[in-house]
């Protein structure tokens, strides 16, 4: 059996940042298991720029952002195994992984950081009626074909879902000579960043059809066209609003789901809203010594935040490994109400730490000129005006350490939107 102090599952931005931070904190034997052929994760296919503004203060492409961390990892003695799939994690922290060179490995770990990322919601999950021809694919699959393999996934494209990947692919396909006929969004607002709507759609006169969905796919072998319909306030298609659009490709960008099969198998408690683990401010799960960060914990909009979160998890894991973890007297829970869909971390360990706690959250609809309020036992401990809040954009607030001292066991910290 191989032995490591820390095994990081996933070598994307989260896994690399967590491993590097743990190394910096003094952890000796670290292993990153990456299922793809290189480190970098999904950033390798995100060739557009816009990564790193917060973290590096410059606009990098995905591979460039990843490369900065890959270079750092290479400078250390962190072991990396690529093309390596983790099949299982046992309750006593043994990681079972396979690859071609080493075969099946059993790796004993003092601590584990889960950084497996997320996957896209497929067609089946939203049950679009019609035939099942070739040419229906998720935006991420199309992105891989176009940006890494060099193949054009389609010539006449409709995109369902205005999340960032959908918007980015609208521009990519247009630049490569395809005609993007429309981007449809079920909700009355886009799930993507505003800048992407401007740069990826408006620049190319691609119509964004809000409150629209695809109600039928036509075509025997390859997609021949799709029907879109307007939806009502309950998101149900309105009869009579059908519009047929001939196309050979339907790209789906209808949501990302944290990939938590391994977490589930080891008995980690998951948050129903985020689809990721329930963690404390150190990103430790309910399973002692197992931490989670990045898109496997909750879907992020900016990789910069993934990096920050992963560093927190890496430091938490390091403290655990090095015996520096302060065991909490008790934990308090965070909870989003009145428009706040979720909060991460879901609990705060009250352990005498003097560090502030950053809470990340997302809202459920678009708000303008609203305020974010944090209350404890009815007392407001934080309030801030926000010009705009949108579901596509992750927000954060910082809770000061002195506010945490006031807590007692079983308390809830409520975060809500006002206005």
């Amino acid at each position: 059996m191989l032995k490591y102090d820390l095994v990081v599952v996933g070598g994307g931005p989260a896994g690399m940042a967590a491993a590097l931070k743990a190394k910096e904190c003094g952890v000796e034997r670290i292993l990153i298991c990456e299922r793809d052929e290189t480190l970098g994760g999904i950033l390798e296919q995100c060739i557009h720029t816009g990564f790193g503004l917060h973290y590096f203060g410059e606009e990098l492409s995905g591979p460039e952002y990843a490369a900065r961390f890959i270079d750092e990892v290479e400078k250390t003695d962190i072991d990396v195994k690529v093309n390596t799939m983790v099949l299982d994690i046992t309750t006593n922290n043994v990681v079972i992984a396979i690859n071609k060179q080493d075969g099946l490995m059993e790796i004993s770990a003092t601590a584990i950081v889960l950084a497996m990322g997320c996957r896209e919601r497929p067609r089946g999950a939203i049950s679009i009626p019609g035939t099942r021809p070739a040419g229906v694919m998720t935006a991420g699959t199309a992105q891989r074909f176009a940006n890494i393999e060099g193949y054009l996934p389609g010539k006449e494209v409709v995109i369902l879902g205005s999340g960032d990947i959908g918007l980015i692919m609208a521009r990519r396909m247009t630049l490569e000579g395809a005609k993007v006929k429309a981007v449809c969004e079920l909700m009355p607002y886009s799930g993507g960043l505003t800048r992407n709507i401007v740069q990826c759609l408006e620049d190319f006169d691609i119509p964004l059809k809000l409150s629209h969905t695809v109600t039928e796919i036509k075509g025997k072998d390859r997609v021949e066209g799709i029907t879109i319909s307007k939806v009502d306030g309950n998101l149900k298609p309105i009869p009579g609003t059908e519009e047929y659009i001939p196309c050979d490709t339907l790209m789906l960008s209808v949501g990302l789901l944290p990939e938590n099969e391994l977490s589930r198998a080891v008995g980690i408690k998951l948050d129903k809203v985020t689809g990721g683990a329930v963690v404390d401010q150190y990103r430790e799960t309910n399973h002692e010594g197992i931490f989670a960060c990045g898109n496997v914990l909750h879907v992020h909009d900016l990789v910069d935040f993934v990096t920050q979160e992963a560093q927190t998890a890496g430091e938490g894991a390091a403290n655990y490994i090095l015996g520096k973890k302060e065991y909490p007297e008790f934990r308090v829970h965070t909870k989003g109400i009145n428009g706040v869909r979720y909060v991460v971390p879901q609990r705060i360990s009250i352990d005498g730490s003097e560090e502030p706690v950053k809470l990340y959250f997302r809202v459920g609809q678009v708000y303008t000129n609203a305020a974010v309020k944090v209350t404890r036992n009815g007392n407001v401990i934080y309030a801030k005006k926000k010009r705009k809040l949108a579901p596509g954009e992750m927000e954060n607030i910082v809770i000061k350490p002195e506010d945490l001292q006031e807590f007692s066991e079983g308390d809830y910290l409520f975060i809500e939107v006002e206005g």
């Binding site: 799939m85 099949l87 396979i98 497929p122 039928e216 390859r222 490709t249």
Partner: protein, 478 residues
């Protein structure tokens, strides 16, 4: 090429017939209009082996259902096809439906169905805690089972091929001539073969194929059934095949585990115009959802990973039609094979074998006949020790390609070089389950396409989802 027997249609029926007849020392062709076997009804159905209490006593359906169900377990074991004898429960929600259960029970007795029992509410909820609390009782049929229908078809066709049967794919028959005791069978592609005897196992197209020799006695109506397939995380919500009582209101839908651990619900039932409409519709799927919740109220309907539709070959005669054509006794119709066609298929193959021995006279047996095929490796089902050994022998099994279903590169390579090689993405999917999981090939799709292209020495541009013009990508970016 000239054959003794040509079998038209490589569905479960045609393939099992081909396997059965492959033990004789004769030349057999199995022709299929699609890019792979099991492309019609055999790939999109309920995947149930019925106990046999549904069919009207005295019909061929009743006889072959009970016989086929008896043969199925052994056959699947022999062919390494996933099969589980889990039993079925027809659930009654009213006193009237309890009466229906008794009728079904009596009919089952008449059809000589073993292992039938009517159980009350308590026993039902003991067996199936998630069945609606309003259920009053159920008819328990212990012989009912679940099977992987396309794997069964593939396995049967593979055994046939191993024993010398020649498989023609993309051979869409559109003309049959009979001259000098020989059929000339032509395909749309211009290809043609000759055969002394023809077995028409063309599923929903069996009436069309019969009409090519002037036999217009068969009328097949395609009856569409739509299904929802749920994620494995729902596994265990039911442990038996759960039927609803047939009522005036309709047939209801079934909820069942699949051999792979998913949950399947459906089908709706709608007669359609034409024979190629396998669209899913929101109305029918809503109906399936509604009926599903009626049986199993707390089933999580948002765990759907895919929906699909299949066509059943409903004969207007109401029974299986398995007999030499009145127009030409060397042309054997095997038509109208709708439910319980899958259950009956092993018995249909035996029945057709007897007909062939009858019309051909004595057939010489092969000196050596291979009963089965090499067992496919299923990495996800192996123990740690077996996995370790496998990768040591062939490193390709150390590379996971499909994360959701834990499918290795080694399995995909094997599928591309099996007795009936997979030629397309769906072919690999049916053989290995790569792409069948919750991400529905989002991650592994490009990799599977690449492996197929490499193994078949093709460009990625030529790789299709299921043959014809179903190409995955349309060009190069540069």
């Amino acid at each position: 090429m000239s054959y003794d027997i040509a079998i038209i249609g490589a569905g479960v029926v045609g393939s099992l017939i081909a396997r059965k007849l492959s033990k004789y020392d004769i030349k057999i062709a199995l022709v299929e209009k699609c890019n792979d076997v099991a492309m019609g009804t055999s790939k999109a159905n309920s995947a149930i082996v019925h106990a046999g209490f549904d069919a009207v006593p005295g019909t061929l359906k009743a006889e072959l259902n009970v016989k086929g169900t008896k043969l199925m377990g052994y056959l699947c074991e022999e062919l390494s096809v996933p099969y589980k004898n889990i039993g079925s429960l027809v659930v009654a929600f009213s006193e009237e439906e309890m009466e229906t259960l008794k009728e079904l029970y009596d009919r089952g007795m008449e059809n000589s169905v073993p292992g039938l029992k009517i159980i009350g509410q308590d026993r039902l909820h003991e067996l199936e805690p998630n069945v609606s609390k309003r259920a009053l009782g159920a008819l328990w049929a212990k012989t009912a089972s679940i099977v992987c229908p396309y794997e069964l078809t593939l396995a049967a066709a593979e055994v046939a091929v191993i024993n010398g049967v020649e498989l023609y794919r993309n051979f869409a028959v559109n003309d049959i001539q009979f001259e000098n005791e020989l059929f000339t069978i032509k395909a749309e592609s211009g290809e043609q073969i000759e055969a002394k005897y023809v077995i028409n196992a063309a599923g929903i197209y069996s009436d069309y194929i019969a009409s090519l020799i002037g036999d217009n006695s068969i009328e097949i109506v395609a009856r569409k059934g739509e299904y929802l397939l749920m994620d494995k995380s729902l596994g265990g919500v039911v442990n038996h095949v759960i039927f609803q009582c047939p009522t005036k209101m309709g047939k209801g839908v079934l909820v069942t585990p699949t051999v792979d651990g998913n949950i399947l619900t459906g089908p709706s039932a709608k007669d359609i115009e034409g024979k190629d409409d396998i669209t899913t519709t929101s109305d029918e799927l809503d109906m399936v959802r509604k009926y599903t919740s009626y049986s199993i109220p707390n089933v999580k309907l948002n765990a759907v990973i895919t929906s699909f539709a299949g066509l059943r070959a409903h004969s207007t005669k109401g029974d299986f039609i398995i007999e030499p054509s009145k127009v030409n006794p060397h042309f054997i119709n095997v038509a109208g094979i709708e439910s319980p066609g899958l259950s009956a298929a092993p018995a249909i193959a035996e029945y057709v074998q007897d007909i062939m021995l009858d019309v051909c006279g004595r057939l010489p047996k092969k000196v050596k006949w291979h009963r089965t095929r090499p067992e496919p490796i299923r990495f996800r089902e192996l123990s740690t020790v077996e996995r370790r050994e496998l990768i040591e022998n062939d490193p390709a099994f150390g590379q996971i390609v499909c994360r959701c279903e834990t499918v290795t590169e080694g399995e995909i390579i094997a599928a591309c070089h099996g007795p009936i090689p997979a030629w397309d993405m769906d072919g690999v999917k049916r053989r290995t389950r790569a792409g069948m999981g919750r991400c529905q090939s989002g991650f592994c799709g490009p990799k599977v396409a690449e492996i197929i292209a490499r193994e078949r020495n093709q460009d990625l541009l030529d790789i299709t989802k299921f043959g014809d013009d179903s190409n995955i990508v349309v060009g190069k970016t540069k």
